[in-house]
C-alpha cells in the first residue's frame, strides 16, 4: 500500500492535467466562463441570506458574512462528494478501455472543487468588506483546516466511489444524506442556536468542527473552545481524517481490479 501511495505521487502530472481539463471543460461554451465559479456560490449565498435574514430570521448579526464563511467550504465538500462518488463509474472508458490508474479519478473532482472554492473566496472577502470585518490572526490556521478537509473529503470520496461501482444506489443515498448533513451542520445557523439536547450531534460531526473553525477565523474572531481545545480538536480530526483516508484507500485497492468488469 505504501508503494501504491508513492505511485500516486508519480501520477501527479496526470492528476494535474485532468484537474485542468475538468476546470477548462466545465464552463466551456458559456459566456461568463470562469465567472460562474464565483457566481454560483454567490447566488446560493444570496438565496440563503434572503431566507434566513428575512423570512426565517436567525437573528445572527452580519448574517451574510457568517453564512459565507461556512457555506463556501461546505460547497467544496458537497460537490466533491457528489462528483467523486460518480467519478469511477463516469470514467468508465478510461478504467475499462485504457491502462489508467483508477485512483486518480476520485481525486480529480476533489481538487477541481478546491480550485473553485479558492476562486469563490473573493465572495467571502466581499461580504467581510461590506460588514467591515477584518479576519482575525487565526487565519494562519486556514491551511491546516483546508488540509484536514482535503484529507477528510478524499477519504469519503475514495470509499463512496468504490461503493458506487458495486451499488449504484450509493450516488442517490449520498445525495440525500448530504442534504441532511448540510442542515445538521452549523452553516445556516450558529452552533449556539442548537438546543442543548442536540448539541451532541455537533460533537460527532466532523463538518461541524471544520465549519466552526472557518467561522471563528473569519467571523467570530474568538475561539469558543479556547486555544488548547481548538488545537486538540484539530489534531484529533487530522488523525481521524488520515485514518479514514488510509482505510478507504486500502478498500479501494482491494476492489480496484474488479472495477473494469463493473463499470
Amino acid at each position: 500500500m505504501i508503494r501504491d501511495i508513492l505511485k500516486l505521487k508519480r501520477h501527479g502530472m496526470l492528476i494535474r492535467v485532468l484537474v485542468a481539463r475538468d476546470l477548462k471543460a466545465r464552463y466551456r461554451g458559456s459566456v461568463l466562463g470562469f465567472l460562474w465559479s464565483f457566481l454560483n456560490p454567490l447566488c446560493l449565498m444570496l438565496v440563503y441570506a434572503l431566507v434566513f435574514s428575512f423570512y426565517l430570521r436567525t437573528g445572527t448579526d452580519k448574517y451574510a458574512a457568517f453564512l459565507c464563511s461556512g457555506l463556501l467550504p461546505w460547497i467544496w465538500f458537497q460537490s466533491s462528494l457528489m462528483e467523486g462518488t460518480l467519478s469511477i463509474v463516469g470514467g468508465s472508458n478510461l478504467v475499462s478501455k485504457a491502462l489508467f490508474p483508477a485512483e486518480v479519478l476520485p481525486l480529480v473532482p476533489v481538487l477541481a472543487n478546491l480550485v473553485h472554492f479558492l476562486l469563490g473566496l473573493p465572495i467571502l472577502a466581499l461580504f467581510l468588506g461590506i460588514y467591515k470585518i477584518v479576519p482575525s490572526w487565526l487565519v494562519v490556521f486556514l491551511p491546516v483546516l483546508l488540509l484536514i478537509q482535503l484529507l477528510l473529503t478524499v477519504g469519503f470520496v475514495l470509499f463512496l466511489a468504490t461503493m458506487n461501482v458495486f451499488y449504484r444506489d450509493t450516488q442517490h443515498i449520498v445525495a440525500n444524506l448530504l442534504t441532511l448533513w448540510f442542515f445538521l451542520s452549523p452553516i445556516v445557523y450558529e452552533s449556539e442556536h442548537v438546543p442543548a439536547a442536540f448539541q451532541w450531534t455537533l460533537k460527532l460531526n466532523p463538518m461541524a468542527y471544520l465549519t466552526r473553525g472557518y467561522q471563528e477565523m473569519f467571523y467570530y474572531h474568538t475561539l469558543h473552545a479556547g486555544y488548547a481545545g481548538f488545537a486538540l480538536g484539530l489534531v484529533v480530526l487530522l488523525f481521524l481524517s488520515v485514518a479514514l483516508c488510509l482505510g478507504s484507500y486500502w478498500m479501494f485497492l482491494r476492489y480496484k481490479d474488479e472495477f473494469v468488469e463493473l463499470v
Binding site: N93, A98, R254, E261, L262
Partner: protein
C-alpha cells in the same frame, strides 16, 4: 528470438449477471465484511461464474506480429485487455517486456468540450508520454491524423473518423515496444487505413511486436506472422496464418450449416400446426423434402452457382390422375425469385398411387447471397391443392462476391484496349473477406 510477451496458464473468470454486480445488498455487505476480516478470496456462495478464457499459453517473440481471430464473444478482446494490464487474470501470468501501448478504445478520455490540441496533451499523458515528448511530437501527431485545420476546434465537432484518427495517431506516437490493436483498422477511410498499415509495417521493421485482433481475415493473413484462433475461451488452433484461417472458416461454415438445419427443423415442426404454411386435401402427401448439394450431401447453405437438387418423397393415398408438382424459391423478404411446375413445363405424369420420390436437379443455383425459402407443392391440374408447403424450407446462399439483386447470370467482363487487345478480367487474389 527474444520473447516480448509471454502468457502462462492464463484464465479469466467473470461473474454472471454483470449488470447487477452483486445480486443483493445483503450478500454484498457480507462479502465486504468478510473481506474486511481478511477472507476476501472466499466468495459468497451462490455467485455464478463463467470462464471467458481458460489455460491460455502464448508467446510473442520480439518483432513478431501475431493475429488473434475468433467469433464475437470468443474471448479475443478479453485476452487483449489482460495483455494490456487493464484487467487482471484470475489465474496465470502475463509478462510484457518493454513499453506497451494498447489501441483498444481510441480516444478514451477525450473530452468533447475541449480542443483537439488540449486533448492530445491529456490523452498523451494518460498513455504515458511526458509533456516534453508530447511537445516534440505534437506536429507529427497532428499531421499523421490529418487534422491540421481542426486541431483547435472542440473534439465534439469532429466526425467519428476524425476522432479515431486523432486517437490512433496519439497512441502510435507513444512509440511502444509492444503494440496491441483491437479491431481498429476497420475504422476511418481507405487513405487512413493505408497510413495505419504503413505505420504498422514500419513498426515491424524496427523489431517491435504487434498483437492484432481483427475480424478482417484478409488483413490478418496479409499482416501477421502467426495466427491464433480462440474459440470459447481456449486456443483452438495456432500457426501459419493461411492454415489457421482456413480451419476457422471451415468451422464457421459448419456451425452455420448446423444452425440452418436447426432452424429448418424448427419450421418443419411448426408447419404441422400452422395453416399458413401447409394446406391441401392431402390426397397426395409430400413427406421428406431435401436440398442436396453437389457433393451429394443434404445441406442448407450453398455457394452461388453451385448445383442444388430438390428432392421430395410423396405418398398418394388413392389413384390420382394427372397430378402437378411444383417448386418455388422465395427470397426471405417474400419476393418470388422463381416458380415452376410440371404442368407449366408441359411435362406429363399420367397417374400416381402409393409412395415415390421426385427430385429436381438444378444445375446452377445462380442466386446472389442471401436467405431464401423453398416451396414445394402437388396439386390438380386446375390448381386445387393436394399438399402445399409454403415457406417451410429455408436455405442460404453464400458468395464471396457482394453483388446485388436476385439472379446472378453467369458472366464475364471483357476489356478491350488498344495496348493489350481483348482481355477477360480476372479477380484479384483475395482471401477471407
Amino acid at each position: 528470438m527474444a520473447i516480448a510477451v509471454s502468457i502462462v496458464g492464463l484464465s479469466k473468470r467473470f461473474r454472471k449477471h454483470r449488470d447487477r454486480g452483486i445480486l443483493t445488498l445483503k450478500s454484498g455487505f457480507l462479502r465486504l465484511l468478510g473481506s474486511a476480516m481478511g477472507r476476501g478470496k472466499e466468495r459468497a456462495p451462490g455467485d455464478q461464474y463463467f470462464y471467458a478464457l481458460q489455460e491460455i499459453n502464448l508467446v510473442v517473440g520480439h518483432g513478431e506480429t501475431v493475429g488473434i481471430i475468433g467469433r464475437n464473444g470468443s474471448g479475443k478482446s478479453t485476452l487483449l485487455k489482460l495483455l494490456s494490464g487493464i484487467m487482471k487474470p484470475t489465474t496465470g501470468q502475463v509478462t510484457v517486456k518493454g513499453k506497451l501501448s494498447a489501441l483498444i478504445e481510441l480516444g478514451a478520455g477525450f473530452h468533447p468540450e475541449i480542443s483537439g490540441r488540449e486533448n492530445i496533451f491529456i490523452n498523451g499523458i494518460i498513455l504515458g508520454l511526458s509533456r516534453d515528448a508530447l511537445r516534440l511530437k505534437f506536429d507529427e501527431i497532428v499531421s499523421f491524423a490529418g487534422l491540421e485545420d481542426f486541431i483547435d476546434a472542440p473534439v465534439r465537432t469532429y466526425s467519428s473518423g476524425m476522432y479515431v484518427r486523432l486517437g490512433f495517431s496519439i497512441a502510435i506516437h507513444v512509440d511502444p515496444d509492444v503494440l496491441l490493436i483491437d479491431e481498429i483498422l476497420s475504422v476511418g477511410d481507405e487513405k487512413f487505413a493505408h497510413k495505419c498499415i504503413d505505420k504498422m509495417a514500419e513498426f515491424k521493421k524496427t523489431g517491435k511486436s504487434i498483437v492484432l485482433v481483427s475480424h478482417n481475415l484478409g488483413q490478418i493473413e496479409k499482416f501477421c506472422d502467426r495466427v491464433i484462433w480462440i474459440e470459447k475461451g481456449r486456443i483452438a488452433a495456432e500457426g501459419a496464418p493461411r492454415r489457421v484461417i482456413d480451419a476457422y472458416l471451415q468451422y464457421i461454415a459448419k456451425e452455420e450449416e448446423e444452425l440452418y438445419a436447426a432452424l429448418t427443423e424448427k419450421d418443419a415442426i411448426e408447419e404441422i400446426s400452422d395453416d399458413a404454411k401447409r394446406w391441401g386435401s392431402r390426397q397426395v402427401e409430400i413427406g421428406n423434402v431435401q436440398m442436396v448439394g453437389g457433393d451429394g450431401r443434404e445441406r442448407h447453405i450453398f455457394q452461388t452457382g453451385e448445383p442444388m437438387t430438390v428432392g421430395m418423397s410423396f405418398r398418394a393415398k388413392e389413384w390420382i390422375e394427372e397430378p402437378v408438382f411444383g417448386i418455388a424459391i422465395y427470397r426471405s423478404d417474400g419476393v418470388l425469385c422463381y416458380g415452376t411446375n410440371t404442368h407449366l413445363e408441359r411435362l406429363e405424369i399420367k397417374a400416381l398411387e402409393g409412395e415415390g420420390r421426385l427430385s429436381v436437379p438444378l444445375e446452377r443455383l445462380d442466386l446472389v447471397e442471401g436467405s431464401y425459402y423453398l416451396d414445394v407443392a402437388v396439386h390438380k391440374e386446375d390448381g386445387t391443392p393436394y399438399d402445399y408447403h409454403h415457406r417451410s424450407y429455408r436455405f442460404a446462399v453464400r458468395s464471396t462476391i457482394k453483388d446485388i439483386g436476385i439472379y446472378r447470370p453467369v458472366h464475364q467482363w471483357v476489356l478491350e484496349t488498344e495496348q493489350e487487345g481483348k482481355t477477360i478480367l480476372e479477380p484479384r487474389e483475395a482471401h477471407g473477406e
